[in-house]
């Protein structure tokens, strides 16, 4: 069941490469939040403990409700709904994304062979690596600042999957602290976005090149 969810997660990543609209980005974030929470629950289904429920609930709350809701609020305030239509659609992004996902699976498979004694389960680990790489690619390729924040959150989701992929089970307090951190970070980025809007109307990262030598 976990593999199904992680494969779905990789599909959302590939879909990411196709769209440029911000609203679909938020949709993908919500979807990924649900998938990740599901994977978290399933991973520890056998030795059930209240802490897992709390963590899963926290993940669901933060990743699927709070953050996406906050981002849509930002989009509405700064009317950036259109996304960067300026760019014609270019297949290069899709090819790179596909290459990343495939590469992640191959790498994860090789690693599991290389270190048998740490028996990492291949698919979630591969999905995690793909998530991180995809988030990075999104940040580098897209010019919109908000797109870069979304890329950041996708890396965050990939990271969470990585934690599950190698079954390193963190004490729940740290998990929640991490989530709280993530929310505060997004919150701060939101405030910064409002201020940025006043100085940089376009909201594009190419405008932010004042500080160079």
């Amino acid at each position: 069941m976990i593999n199904a969810f992680t494969i779905l997660f990789c599909l959302t990543l590939i879909y990411l490469a196709v769209t440029t609209r911000l609203s679909t980005y938020v949709l993908i974030l919500v979807l990924q939040g649900v998938l990740v929470a599901g994977v978290h629950l399933l991973a520890f289904f056998d030795n059930f403990a209240w802490s897992h429920l709390i963590v899963a609930g926290g993940v669901l709350l933060v990743r699927t409700v709070l953050i996406p809701f906050y981002i849509t609020k930002i989009i509405r305030d700064l009317d950036m709904g259109h996304g960067d239509r300026t760019r014609r659609y270019h297949p290069g992004f899709l090819i790179q994304m596909a290459f990343i996902v495939i590469g992640a699976f191959v790498l994860s498979h090789q690693l599991s062979l290389l270190t048998p004694q740490t028996q990492i389960n291949v698919v979630p680990f591969a999905a995690a690596i793909a998530g991180i790489a995809a988030g990075g690619l999104l940040i580098v390729r897209r010019k919109l600042l908000l797109a870069q924040v979304v890329g950041f959150l996708i890396i965050e989701n990939g990271l969470f999957l990585l934690g599950l992929g190698i079954q390193s089970e963190m004490p729940w307090t740290i998990e929640l602290a991490g989530l709280l951190d993530l929310f505060v970070l997004v919150f701060l980025m939101g405030i910064a976005m409002n201020h940025l809007k006043t100085h940089f109307p376009e909201g594009e990262s190419d405008e932010l090149t004042g500080l160079r030598d």
Binding site: G136, I139, S205, L208, G210
Partner: protein, 658 residues
């Protein structure tokens, strides 16, 4: 006797702090310099008595960072201490008169005086500290103090540039010395020179590293040819009393370092000796050739320092060969020539710079082209400058000759004792030394003739002005010393003998090696007597035959003007053209194009090929570094890309390296 030295250091510390209390510049100038002079006088009595009745004395101060700091007064340290103190004493006295002119023009001398005192103290410390780390600390303190003393007239751009070049050069030499002393420290585990000397486990690789970094580090400071580019700019930028200190004794710190390295380290291979010989010869000949082409007095004298450093280097290289081939007589001769020439050069270079300072204050510019006829205005300066000029060319009655005589003698003795190509090399270096002597004669006849003799070339005769007493004492004192050490070279040797005994325990060298110097004394006495008698006879005969003064005979041409005299560039033009490949003379003038030409101007400047080389190298570094300015592109997406790239690179290293 050590108390004399301690008191002198304390007095100098007091004069270092004094500018904070005394506000008014004129009184401050006199107070600080007089205090320095008295302190140095005390120091001189200590070092002189230390040299004459010699007994090795060592003191230890415990410093956790550098282990036991040894302050040793061995022969070499005392000799250099004596030289440093002597010239600092003269420079402090001279500074009183020189700075008075600047104070009237509204310069604040408070910071300058404290840095000047710090420079004097730091140089003395460099000579006596026998602990490598403490030596490096004193070395950098000397560099900083010298930098701020040079950059006194800050408003001029070339002064700032010259000062900065000096600072960069000394910092580079400090870094090299870092590596040299640290490798020694790493091997022997202690910072003190005598531990370095007593350690026997040096392998050739460490010795090679130590020698290379040490020699190049001290070579940069001494101003040997490829690294001399900073010297002319710094010395012409500094005010005269500082450039006198720099040229006379500051570069000698490099020579002291080399001599100390030679004492500490076992003789590795003769290649270093031959290398040093070649570099010194090139520095000597090219140094004086560049000097010939200069128009600014201080730059000319600075290039001459490079020449004299070359001569000292010749002495050192012979000493190094002596050590390699285990011929103590050569070591003694080489070091005697080097040390004596260090002392002599310090004296007459200081004298020349003080003379140049007096002329500079009257002419308000260093350019020799529009000078002339200063002998009538500055009689004492011109007489002492003449003595300095004769001794710097190494001409007989004065002290330059005694040390060059020793260097020649060491050449011929090396030619006797070593076989194979050594005699030929020695003959070539003797001829080089002679050739350089000829160039020096040409250079200083040009300088003295153009500046002091004839009629002023700018048309305005300089108005006679009284020479301040405080600057007369150093002039007369140093000129007297030139004569004294020239006619009685034994005195110089007597001062150097403690150092020579240690360097090569000269007891083994045949006793007679110093005998020709004794005979020189008698020969000079005879010569001076002959000159005096002939001069007396001539004056007596002329008074009988009649003497009259009349216009210069211009082969019948009636209206001779001051512009018909030979100028500095015309005097040296032919010789400078001979050195065409090394001496690039740039000329800027417009050919006469119109029938009725308006005012024409001709400007020629001899630029130093190696200095241009260093400037080009500086430009190349700038361009190479500019290639990488794209890193800080301002675009956040590039920064994220750098992060992923670094990650990928490190992961690659992990795969490759395990």
């Amino acid at each position: 006797m050590i108390w004399f030295f301690v008191i002198s250091l304390l007095l100098e510390a007091l004069s270092f702090v004094m500018p904070a209390f005394v506000r008014e510049s004129r009184r401050l100038n006199v107070a600080v310099n007089l205090l320095n002079a008295t302190a140095l006088l005390l120091g001189l009595t200590f070092s002189l008595s230390g040299l004459l009745v010699y007994q090795y004395v060592e003191y230890q101060i415990e410093l956790p960072a550098a282990g036991p700091v040894v302050i040793g007064f061995d022969g070499l340290s005392l000799f250099f201490l004596f030289t440093f103190q002597l010239l600092s004493f003269a420079a402090s006295l001279y500074a009183i008169g020189y700075l008075r002119d600047y104070i009237e023009r509204g310069f604040s001398v408070r910071a300058h005086l404290s840095f000047f005192t710090l420079l004097i103290v730091a140089m003395q410390l460099v000579a006596i500290l026998h602990n490598a780390l403490a030596f490096l600390i004193a070395w950098e303190a000397m560099a900083v103090a010298a930098y701020f003393s040079i950059v006194f007239d800050q408003d001029r751009e070339d002064v700032r540039r010259g000062g900065f070049w000096y600072f960069v050069a000394t910092h580079a030499s400090a870094l090299l010395l870092f590596v040299c002393f640290l490798t020694l420290h790493e091997k022997t585990g202690s910072w003190n020179f005598n531990d370095f000397a007593s350690y026997t486990g040096y392998d050739t690789q460490t010795l090679a590293i130590v020698l290379l970094t040490g020699m190049i580090g001290f070579g940069i400071k001494a101003g040997f040819m490829p690294f001399h580019a900073w010297l002319p700019n710094a010395h012409s930028a500094a005010p005269t009393h500082v450039s006198a200190l720099l040229s006379a004794i500051n570069i000698k710190a490099g020579i002291y370092g080399m001599a100390r390295l030679m004492m500490i380290l076992p003789a590795l291979s003769a290649a270093y000796g031959w290398g040093l010989l070649a570099v010194s010869l090139v520095s000597a000949v090219l140094g004086v050739w560049y000097a010939l082409a200069q128009h600014d007095i201080k730059r000319l004298l600075a290039y001459h320092s490079v020449e004299n450093i070359g001569i000292i280097g010749l002495g050192l290289s012979v000493a190094w060969l002596g050590r390699c081939y285990a011929l103590p007589e050569l070591v003694v001769l080489g070091f005697a020539g080097a040390l004596l020439h260090t002392l002599n050069h310090a004296i007459f270079k200081g004298l020349l710079f003080f003379g140049a300072g007096n002329v500079y204050q009257r002419a308000h510019s260093g350019n020799v082209e529009n000078m002339g006829g200063f002998a009538r205005v500055l009689p004492l300066t011109s007489a002492t400058f003449l003595v300095g000029a004769i001794s710097i060319c190494g001409l007989p009655p004065f002290n330059g000759f005694a040390s060059e005589f020793l260097v020649y003698k060491s050449f011929f003795r090396t030619a006797d004792l070593l076989h194979g190509y050594a005699p030929l090399a020695m003959l070539v270096s003797a001829v080089g030394l002679a050739f350089m002597g000829g160039l020096a004669v040409a250079c200083f006849t040009k300088l003295y003739g153009i500046v002091f003799l004839g009629v002023n070339r700018s048309g305005i005769a300089p108005q006679p002005q009284s020479e301040p007493a405080s600057s007369n004492i150093p002039l007369l004192g140093l000129a007297g010393l030139c004569a004294l050490l020239g006619i009685f070279p034994q005195i110089g040797l007597r001062l150097a003998s403690p150092a020579l005994n240690e360097l090569a325990n000269s007891a083994q060298a045949p006793v007679g090696w110093a005998s020709p110097l004794a005979q020189l004394q008698i020969v000079f006495a005879l010569f001076l007597a002959l000159v005096a008698i002939c001069y007396g006879l001539k004056r007596w005969w002329q008074s009988k035959a009649g003497v009259r003064v009349h216009e210069t005979w211009g082969c019948g041409y009636a209206r001779i003007t001051f512009r018909m005299q030979y100028t500095a560039s015309s005097f040296a033009e032919e010789l400078v053209n001979l050195g065409r490949p090394m001496l690039a003379v740039g000329m800027k003038w417009k050919p006469i194009s119109t029938i009725l030409p308006t005012a024409e101007a001709f400007h020629s400047h001899c630029h130093d090929r190696m200095e241009n080389g260093w400037l080009a190298f500086h430009g190349v570094i700038g361009r190479v570094l500019a290639l990488f300015r794209w890193i800080q592109s301002g675009n956040i997406r590039h920064y994220v890309l750098y992060m992923f790239a670094a990650l990928f690179f490190y992961l690659l290293c992990a795969l490759v390296w395990n």
